[in-house]
C-alpha cells in the first residue's frame, strides 16, 4: 500500500470538530440496554433498534436487519467493481446490561459501564458516515457497517458466524472495532476453546455437614492439577484461568464452584489435546472426591492468521506510526477469527485509552478518541485506495 499518511494528524482536528456527534452516539448507544429481556430475542434488542435509528439519519443506501437479526447499513462506493469493506463492532457487553444506565461526561472522561467493551466501538461505528462526510472522503468501495448483538460468552460469536455464512459475495477486507486499548492491533487468532469446570457436592436431604466436602477445596485441587499440565513452547500453548465463583457466606460450606478458562494455542490439535487432558482430570477428581465435576465447552475458534507482511497490516502499522500510536500486537479470538477463517483479510483496532475495564465506572479518556478514529479512517482509506493484495 502506498497511501500518503502525512495528513493524518490534521484529520484528528477535523474529527474533533464533530466530537458532539461522536460522543452523543457513544452515550446514546451505550446507555441503551445491550441485552433484550427474556421474552424476546437478543437480536431484537433496543440497542439494535438504536443502531438502526442512528444510522437512518445518515441516509445509507441500504439499512436493514439481516435474517439473523444483525443490524447493518450499506453505503455505496464510487466504483461498482470494488468489493465491499466491512466494519463490525460487537454490541453485547460482558456486564450483561439488561436495563438502562447513565453515563457521565467530564472535561476529559466518559464514565460508565460497558464503555471500553464495547459501547465506544459501536458508537464510533455508527459515527463513521458523519466522520467520512466531515473529512470529505468518498470511498471507491462499498462500506458495510454491521452491529453484532451476540458475540460474547455463550453466544460464541454467533452473530458474525451467521452473518458471514449468509454473505455469499467477495469481501475486500474487514476491520473489527473495539473501544480500548488504543494501539491494539490483532491480525491473528490462536486456536481456542472456552470452557468451564463445574463442581457440585452432593448433599443428603435436610442435612449439611458444616465441615464436610468443600467445593472450593475440590476446585483448588482441580486448579493444581490443571496447572501441572506440561504445555509446549512450540506450538505455544497456554491455559488462562479467567473466572471463578463459589460460596455465598463466610461460615457456610460451599457446595458449588465454577471455574471459567480458555485454552489458547497456535495449533488446533494442541487445543483439543489439552482439553482432553483437563477432561481426564475432571473425571479422575470426580471419582476421588465423590463429587460431580463436569467439564463444559462453551465455545471454540480455529487458529487463523494474516502474515505480518500482509499489506493491510503494513498499512495499519504505518498509520499508527504516523499518529504516534504504539502498536500492541496480540492474538484475538474474537470476530477477527471468523473473518480470517472465511479467508477475509481482517484486523482488529481499538479506539481509545480506557481505565477500570469491566467495572461499573469504566472510563474513556476523551482526547484519545479522535486519534483512535483517525487511525481507523487511515486504515479504511488505505484498504480502499490500495487494496489488500
Amino acid at each position: 500500500m502506498k497511501s500518503n499518511f502525512s495528513e493524518l494528524k490534521q484529520t484528528v482536528d477535523k474529527i474533533m470538530s464533530i466530537r458532539e456527534i461522536i460522543l452523543t452516539n457513544v452515550v446514546l448507544i451505550g446507555q441503551t440496554p445491550s441485552q433484550a429481556h427474556s421474552d424476546e430475542s437478543k437480536s431484537n434488542s433496543i440497542r439494535s433498534q438504536m443502531f438502526l435509528d442512528r444510522l437512518a439519519e445518515t441516509q445509507p443506501d441500504e439499512l436493514t436487519t439481516d435474517f439473523h437479526g444483525n443490524p447493518l447499513a450499506l453505503f455505496k462506493g464510487a466504483s461498482a467493481r470494488s468489493h465491499p469493506i466491512m466494519l463490525v463492532a460487537h454490541m453485547d457487553t460482558a456486564l450483561g446490561m439488561e436495563s438502562e444506565c447513565h453515563y457521565q461526561v467530564s472535561e476529559d472522561y466518559l464514565i460508565g459501564p460497558g464503555l471500553i467493551d464495547n459501547s465506544l466501538g459501536v458508537g464510533v461505528l455508527i459515527s463513521i458516515p458523519d466522520i467520512l462526510k466531515t473529512l470529505e472522503i468518498k470511498l471507491k468501495s462499498d462500506l458495510v457497517l454491521i452491529g453484532l448483538p451476540e458475540s460474547l460468552r455463550d453466544s460464541n460469536l454467533k452473530s458474525i458466524r451467521n452473518f458471514l455464512s449468509a454473505w455469499k459475495s467477495p469481501v475486500k477486507a474487514a476491520v473489527c472495532i473495539e473501544g480500548g486499548e488504543i494501539g491494539r492491533l490483532n491480525y491473528f487468532s490462536k486456536g481456542m476453546i472456552r470452557a468451564e469446570i463445574l463442581c457440585d457436592i452432593p448433599q443428603e436431604i435436610g442435612y449439611t455437614d458444616k465441615y464436610g466436602l468443600n467445593a472450593i477445596i475440590v476446585m483448588n485441587e482441580v486448579i493444581n492439577r490443571v496447572l501441572a499440565i506440561r504445555l509446549p513452547l512450540r506450538p505455544q500453548t497456554n491455559i488462562v484461568l479467567g473466572e471463578i465463583h463459589s460460596g455465598y457466606k463466610h461460615g457456610e460450606l460451599p457446595l458449588y464452584a465454577r471455574l471459567g478458562f480458555e485454552i489458547h494455542s497456535d495449533s488446533d490439535d494442541m487445543v483439543e489435546d489439552t482439553f482432553g487432558r483437563i477432561l481426564e482430570i475432571s473425571d479422575d477428581l470426580s471419582h476421588k472426591f465423590s463429587a460431580q465435576i463436569r467439564l463444559r465447552k462453551i465455545s471454540s475458534v480455529k487458529a487463523a492468521h494474516l502474515h505480518f507482511h500482509h499489506p493491510m497490516i503494513k498499512a495499519a502499522i504505518r498509520v499508527m506510526e504516523a499518529l504516534e500510536i504504539k502498536p500492541i500486537i496480540e492474538s484475538s479470538e474474537s470476530e477477527l477469527s471468523v473473518f480470517l477463517s472465511h479467508r477475509i483479510p481482517a484486523i482488529t483496532l481499538a479506539i481509545a485509552h480506557g481505565l477500570n475495564p469491566q467495572k461499573e465506572n469504566e472510563q474513556i479518556f476523551i482526547p484519545s478518541i479522535y486519534k483512535g478514529i483517525a487511525q481507523l479512517v487511515g486504515v479504511i482509506k488505505a484498504i480502499d485506495e490500495e487494496g489488500v493484495k
Binding site: I18, R19, E20, I21, L23, T24, V27, L28, Q31, E57, E100, H102, Y103, Q104, V105, S106, E107
Partner: protein, 336 residues
C-alpha cells in the same frame, strides 16, 4: 371551553414533533431564533452530557437551536469549566445586570437573567440534572410553539395519565409536592390549571413576548408563579403540555421538598391575594422551621427563604435597549 376539552386539545406527545427537518424549515420560514438555557448550581455530573447531545442533534445535525446558554448561580464544582469546554455560552448570574442593587440566588433569578443575555425569539429552559437527557426534551417543547398557531408556552410532563390500549387509569406521575400541594391549591382557586399534569416540571419553553412580561419569583416558586400569571393574563389556550416520556433526575429528600412546598405556598397565596381572590389579615412569614431528631432531642432548623420577585424583564430600560428591533412588541406590551 370545558377543562376536559383543554386537556384533550392541548396535550401532545414529543413524537408528534419528531420531524426535525420540518421544524427547522418552519423556524427559518418564520425567521425565528431559539435559545436553550440551563440554569445550574453544581451540576458537573450531568451538564456536559446535556450540552453535547443538544449540540449534536439540534445545532450540528438539525439547526433548530441557535445558542446554548448556561446561567450559573456560583457552582463550586466543575460545572462552569465543563460547560465552557463543550461550547456553551456560560454566564455567572451575578455578572448579568450588575447595576441592579440586589443580587439573589435561585433558579428563578437565573431564568429571569437568561432573558437578558439570550438572543432567541423562543427560550427553552431545561433543568441541568437530567440523567437520561435526549434531544426530545428540547424539540418536544419547541414543536408546538412552531406548529400550533395559538400556543405560546409549553410545559413538559413525563407520564401518560391514561393507558391508551386498556383505558386503565393510573397515577399521573406528578411528584409528591405536585400531588400534595400544587394541584390541590390550583383546584381550590384555579381549577383550569389542575389539568397540567406536572406543573412543577423544570422543562418549559415560550416565546420571549410571554416570558419578558412575567414576574419571576427568584426561588422554587418560579414554576407556580409562571403558570398562574400566564393563565391569569392570557388564559389556558396559549399553553400546551408535552409528554416527554421518562425523565430520570436527582431525587430530593422530604425536608428539601418541604422547603420547596413552603415557597410554592408563599407564591400562590401572594398571587391570589394580589388578584383579590383571598384576603390575608397579616403578612406571610418567610421563615420555615423544620425538625430533625438527634438522640432524644428534636432539633429545630430554621430556613430563611427569600421570596423576592423580579419584575417583568420588559420593564427594564437596559433590556429594551438591548433588543431595539423588538420595539413594536415592547410598545404593544406596554399598551392598555
Amino acid at each position: 371551553m370545558t377543562s376536559d376539552h383543554w386537556l384533550n386539545t392541548h396535550t401532545f406527545h414529543y413524537s408528534d414533533f419528531s420531524d426535525l427537518n420540518k421544524l427547522v424549515e418552519i423556524k427559518e420560514k418564520k425567521k425565528l431564533t431559539v435559545s436553550l438555557c440551563f440554569p445550574t448550581l453544581n451540576e458537573e455530573k450531568t451538564i456536559a452530557k446535556e450540552i453535547i447531545i443538544m449540540r449534536s442533534e439540534l445545532v450540528l445535525k438539525s439547526p433548530l437551536i441557535d445558542e446554548i446558554l448556561v446561567i450559573d448561580s456560583g457552582s463550586t464544582d466543575n460545572t462552569v469549566p465543563v460547560a465552557r469546554e463543550y461550547g456553551a455560552d456560560v454566564y455567572i448570574a451575578d455578572d448579568i445586570l450588575p447595576e441592579l442593587p440586589e443580587k439573589y440566588k435561585g433558579k428563578g433569578e437565573n431564568l429571569w437573567k437568561a432573558l437578558y443575555v439570550a438572543k432567541g425569539d423562543i427560550i427553552v429552559y431545561l433543568d441541568a440534572d437530567i440523567k437520561n437527557i435526549h434531544h426530545r426534551f428540547a424539540y418536544g417543547l419547541i414543536g408546538p410553539l412552531l406548529l400550533k398557531k395559538d400556543i405560546k408556552f409549553t410545559k413538559a410532563f413525563y407520564d401518560r395519565p391514561i393507558s391508551e390500549e386498556t383505558g386503565v387509569i393510573r397515577p399521573s406521575g406528578g411528584g409528591r409536592v405536585t400531588e400534595l400541594v400544587t394541584r390541590p391549591l390550583f383546584s381550590l382557586l384555579y381549577p383550569g390549571l389542575a389539568q397540567i399534569i406536572q406543573p412543577l416540571s423544570g422543562e418549559y419553553a415560550a416565546y420571549r413576548e410571554i416570558l419578558d412580561r412575567l414576574n419571576f419569583p427568584i426561588g422554587y416558586g418560579v414554576e407556580t408563579g409562571m403558570l398562574l400569571e400566564i393563565y391569569d393574563r392570557w388564559g389556558l389556550d396559549v399553553m400546551a403540555q408535552v409528554d416527554l416520556d421518562k425523565r430520570i433526575h436527582r431525587n430530593q429528600d422530604t425536608l428539601a421538598l418541604g422547603r420547596m412546598s413552603f415557597s410554592i405556598l408563599h407564591t400562590f397565596f401572594k398571587f391570589a391575594q394580589n388578584r383579590k381572590l383571598i384576603a390575608l389579615n397579616q403578612p406571610l412569614h418567610d421563615r420555615l422551621i423544620q425538625y430533625q431528631a438527634a438522640d432524644d432531642i428534636y432539633m429545630p432548623k430554621t430556613h430563611q427563604l427569600k421570596h423576592q420577585v423580579r419584575p417583568p424583564m420588559i420593564e427594564l430600560e437596559t433590556y429594551r435597549k438591548r433588543f431595539p428591533k423588538r420595539k413594536k412588541a415592547f410598545k404593544a406590551a406596554s399598551g392598555p
